[in-house]
Amino acid sequence: MSALTTGWLGAVVLSATVLGVAMTIVAYLTWLERKVAARMQNRIGPYEVGFPHGWLQPLADVVKLIIKEDITPRAADRILFNLGPLLVVVPALTGFAFIPIAKGLAIVDHAYSFLFFTAFASLTLLGVFAAGWSSNNKYALLSALRMVAMAASYEVPMILALLIPALLSGSFQLTEVVEAQRGLWFIGYPLVGQVAFLIFLICALAEGNKSPLDILDAESELIAAYNVEYSGIKFALFYAGEYAHTLAICALAATVFLGGYLGPAFLPGFVWLAAKCLVLFVVILWIRWSLMRLRIDQAIRINWMILLPAALVNVLIAAFWVVGR
């Protein structure tokens, strides 16, 4: 590795690169989502802004949101209200720091990077709750309360599902987890891998507020959820945070289940990683734009009655497997 990827300079360069790439991808994910949704709905989607196929639309959206008036409601708690978007977007982007993009190369390659990632992913909850609470809006409050109920439920099977790759690889270090998949991706492990991936995917829908588990921004009930009072750049930050969160979770799933940067050598590792992320993202979109939304009690019942027992049994089987190996 050259000087640009080692030492403190390397850390800065790498962080800036990953952050820039991630933010650009996040902006274009909105375009991708609109295009995919439009195709599913017999529409064209963004077309006019930029030739071909409205590729400048994300840029136009960002510029529009930046120059819009930034409103803070009079009755809102100003400090928390302004802190909310930051608390959402920063942890969501921090997650990318732990994703290995090549052999032994991640911005933070910690022995427990796996746990750090999940911890940061859960931190977005704080921002959402701060936003919902401080807006002093009843719809936002209801949404924030739903968020707490959902996150408290779905974190559990999600972490349990993520234990499977950790168990199989015997490490909490994401770079090690990827290297352990050289022979077979963890999704390929019969039953254990697939069940864990499925549970993780369902929990990812809940964590990323995607239908059918987008209980907290159920806009047909709660109008626009926790960010109902936000406008302009703060709204854009929430939006970016949501997509970054979804992308980070896709990246994690690609890393721990689909072999991360591993792939045939004719393409560099990060391209494989990005491709796997994108495929997962489109799968999430596909689910999102096909299904109705569950009610909150139904969503939480599914979690405690089905996902949690399944995840526990799965961990047990995987543990026996690893011990007997």
Binding site: A37, Q41, N42, K210, D214, W289, S290, M292, R293, L294
Partner: protein, 383 residues
């Protein structure tokens, strides 16, 4: 029926009064609901109406009978022809005006097409309520509107207007169906029929949809009759009442069709009744095209001065089965060219009366599911 201010009082600690509407994505227009919540459970619901009141009944007292039919098409704006149909029936009853048989069939023809188009809008918006604008709901909505768009295109070609077709005249029908249009109608009905299984798979056949609607907002037959709900909402509670059969008008006495009923009385039953009515109405339009009698479509002499039409003194009430239920017009005539008093018996208004009985005990998510399953049209509620 002005929008009286409702005092919102949070009576005890832990109770949250939530004002839902009149600007809200799933209140189907400008319905306002004051919900008292305990956690997410609704403990009290007060519907507030009147935000779309346009004084149509008062306006009626200032226009001649022949000028009025198009006005009422703006009431229930998802099935315009049902409104004018009920009005012309009442006028014809009052004035003992005979309607040619072909005109009666043509009225039923447009009414059935608009029933299909209205039910498609309802299905799409129910999807929006259950699935949200950022999710599977929009997909169902777009699929429904794709089919509805073709009906509107057909009606535009047939009547010159996509929506407020203004087919019904006092004493006849305005537009005649020629062979080419009849063939187009048949082809369209056949093609929409093939799209129905797809719509079913996205809604009623989907486990999440069933989970959201089954056992939600149950109306017992007693409650339904006591409150006076009508139409598919009543038929979903096991009461087989359809004005087309019970007090047959237009050509419906001669037309074979099934009155769709369900007994469960929940949101899913209301969904199933309307969905089956889609197929039933598509069958009906093909029957009408096949059996359309020959003859004139207008009984009276051409009008030069609409104000010359005077009705005898008296009262008359006539009702039709609009896609939302029994839609009736009560006219009081003092012998002049204008109604002395006119009262519209609107199905959406009656169906909305059930809301305070249904919502308590449910969750906020059930509120939108129940409202969507009632299919209220605010233009019909407030008039």
């Amino acid at each position: 029926m002005s929008a009286a201010p409702v005092e919102i009082v949070e009576r005890e600690f832990g109770e949250l009064a939530l004002n839902m509407g009149p600007q809200h994505p799933s209140t189907h227009g400008v319905l306002r609901l004051v919900l008292h919540l305990s956690g997410e459970t609704v403990i009290k619901a007060i519907p507030v109406i009147g935000y779309l009141h346009r004084g149509v009944e008062k306006l009626s007292e200032h226009l001649a009978y022949d000028q009025l039919a198009p006005v009422y098409e703006r009431d229930d704006y998802l099935a315009p022809t049902a409104n004018s149909n009920a009005f012309v029936l009442a006028v014809e009853q009052l004035g003992s005006i005979a309607v040619p048989r072909r005109a009666q069939w043509l009225r039923a023809f447009v009414a059935e097409w608009q029933r299909v188009s209205s039910h498609l809008v309802w299905l799409g918006t129910l999807g929006l309520d259950l699935g949200g604008a950022l999710g599977g709901g929009t997909t169902l909505y777009m699929y429904c509107f794709r089919e509805r768009e073709r009906i509107l295109d057909f009606l535009e070609e047939f009547t010159g207007t996509r929506f407020h077709t203004n087919t019904n005249l006092v004493g006849g029908a305005r537009y005649d169906l020629d062979a080419a249009m009849a063939a187009r109608s048949d082809a369209l009905a056949a093609s929409i029929k093939t799209a129905l299984p797809e719509l079913w798979a996205m809604s009623g056949g989907n486990p999440i949809f069933q989970e959201r609607t089954r056992g939600v907002g149950v109306i017992s037959a007693d409650l339904a009759l006591g409150v006076g709900v009508t139409g598919p909402t009543l038929r979903a509670s096991g009461v087989s009442y359809d004005v087309r059969k019970a007090a047959s008008y237009d050509a419906y006495a001669e037309l074979p069709f099934q009155v769709v009923t369900r007994t469960a009385g929940d949101a899913e039953a209301r969904f199933q009744v309307r969905f089956d009515e889609l197929a039933e109405s598509l069958k009906l339009v093909r029957t009408i095209v096949a059996g359309l009698p020959t003859g004139p479509i207008f009984a009276r002499k051409p009008l030069k001065n609409p104000k010359a039409t005077k009705l005898p003194k008296g009262e008359a009430y006539a009702a039709v089965e609009s896609p939302r239920g029994e839609l009736g017009f009560h006219i009081v005539s003092d012998g002049s060219a204008k109604p002395y008093r006119l009262k519209i018996n609107a199905p959406s208004f009656k169906n909305l009366q059930i809301v305070p009985h249904l919502l308590p005990g449910g969750l906020v998510a059930d509120v939108v599911a129940i409202l969507g399953s009632l299919d209220p049209v605010m233009g019909d509620v407030d008039r």
